[in-house]
Symmetry: D2
Subunit: 186 residues, 4 copies
């Protein structure tokens, strides 16, 4: 019997004399779960629709307040720079590592970001996502897939979207990476 | 409505228009699980009993070969130094950061570790553990609790034991921390 | 003095009686570093240029062998699905979670991926990257930025690129996320 | 040339055409560092001495307030159960997963923990630690080594001590594991 086989035998031994109660002990687990991810992906779409709805019903100020609250609650700008490449930004402001830049993208109205017209104000009413694959390491989850959003005229926009979600100490998921792009056209 | 409340409302919105299929996407998750931990704790006890059994049935060489295989399979000496404080070691060899020192502790017979008499050779026949609490971060799990082992004369030894288990790329748990101590006597 | 102030005082106490030698102890640190990231980003560009060079000098088979080796060494397909959205792919094969799909994108010549013409064969001679921001969690690093590649006619292609690099047990970085997109045109 | 050699050649290629500026991008890195660990180990000893000093100078209430503040600032009871096996505790209260149990150990005076006489009140004036090895995974660091503390009579107590330090979102290290034991006596 080789050492390797001895070892495998040891590890597969029937453990008649072992009594376990690991499950009864309290567990602190700071890792992110698949359920966490699905909830965060749903919440992102719901927030987008909410901003559009608030804009229609309450105007710019209400929409901006909601967008601001969403950024505070669901993005990781409180932790540091966020890796954010929105769908429609152009150089030299392609990336939005600060909250101010993200807010400008979502609702516009910021003269320091003159190309931003307010992506979240465009009458979005429906949202769905389809993940290609998911990667989980520690309290960080990465997702890549298609996101389709529909406006109030029934027009559908499809984007290729990567998210990185980080679970903070309070158990909330925060977006620390968001790369969105229109599909390549041949 | 405050910004905070707006935000909470957004995140708890009923999501009638969101269609999710996150669960269908393939997931790579490198984190450790509670099931992993329980299996590893059971395997440690089974390995200890196996070494004792092999010593009785096959003598020192067989027991040493088994112990060597267990250290290769279940400890993290291949990754780097292991934080190992066995129950019965004394200064200046209290800690056993190398595999050689760990093997000496389990089976003795190494003149460089003259105080080691072979902890795993002492006729162990039964093992049970009782966790006080478990901590999980990334691919690392920490457990603290009581371990009780019984020898072939029916004598029970109880120790306070901390383990740190690391899940490697292949999905195997490896002990990277092992602090064992006899209970304090007033 | 409040409890908080007491606490701060405790933690900032001048520690004249403390003797530390933490630095002398061996350390096993599995986390990824900024130096790791920079090396991996450079290696990606070098590999792209190498595939182009091998194609010119040795033809398709040589280029394919190099691309295959690069995927084995620098991507995480051995770990599980990779979140890969190449620059020029189209639905329904936008994403390439398997190595086969990635290889088809880089060198073409696979009838199961009829839209792939071999991105890495297009005479690339120069590469540079400019990070917008970097996020590091555990053994995983995320980068977002501009990548510019130049072909043998001097034409420059600029893409917005996200990478996720995972450090494996052997200390090698592997790409587990790669989202590349052409800049949005207004 | 084998595929493996091709691959190694690719990755070791001289990268004359690559221009990197990775270091200029802002970086969010949530991992723990060796400097973090050394500071936390020093702070623990300083806190112990401070509690003893406060007891001598300000009596039980002052010492208890300091101990309470230390537990809030330097332990992870706010995150969940802590894996704490103090040096001198006995069954059935060997482990102290809650803050109340930890405070009772440090200062005594809690009728629910009748065996606790106040470990931190025993006139400690000097502290030093000597690490055997350190393990770092993500935002968690494990240390194992000797800790020696000296009281106001010049008597030295040596313990074998494992710590697990977790870096929280705010960048503070918190003890989530603490196993302390008197050296084994033959």
């Amino acid at each position: 019997m080789t050492l390797k086989n001895t070892c495998l035998a040891v590890l597969s031994l029937a453990l008649l004399s072992v009594h376990a109660n690991a499950k009864e002990a309290p567990v602190l687990n700071t890792n992110i779960t698949e359920a966490d991810i699905e909830a965060a992906q749903k919440a992102w779409g719901a927030a987008l629709i909410q901003i559009s709805t608030d804009y229609k019903e309450g105007g710019f100020d209400k929409a901006k307040a909601t967008a601001d609250a969403v950024l505070d609650a669901a993005y990781g700008y409180n932790l540091g720079p966020v890796l954010f490449k929105p769908t429609l930004t152009v150089a030299p402001q392609t990336f939005r590592p600060t909250k101010e830049g993200a807010l400008a993208y979502f609702v516009g109205g910021n003269k320091d970001f003159p190309d931003d017209s307010g992506f979240a104000l465009k009458g979005w009413t429906k949202y769905e996502f389809e993940n290609s694959a998911i990667h989980i390491t520690a309290d960080l989850a990465l997702t890549l897939g298609k996101v389709r959003i529909t406006n109030d005229k029934g027009e559908v926009t499809e984007v290729d979207k990567t998210w990185g979600f980080k679970k903070d100490d309070a158990g909330n998921l925060r977006i620390v990476l968001h790369h969105s792009s229109l599909p390549y056209k041949k």
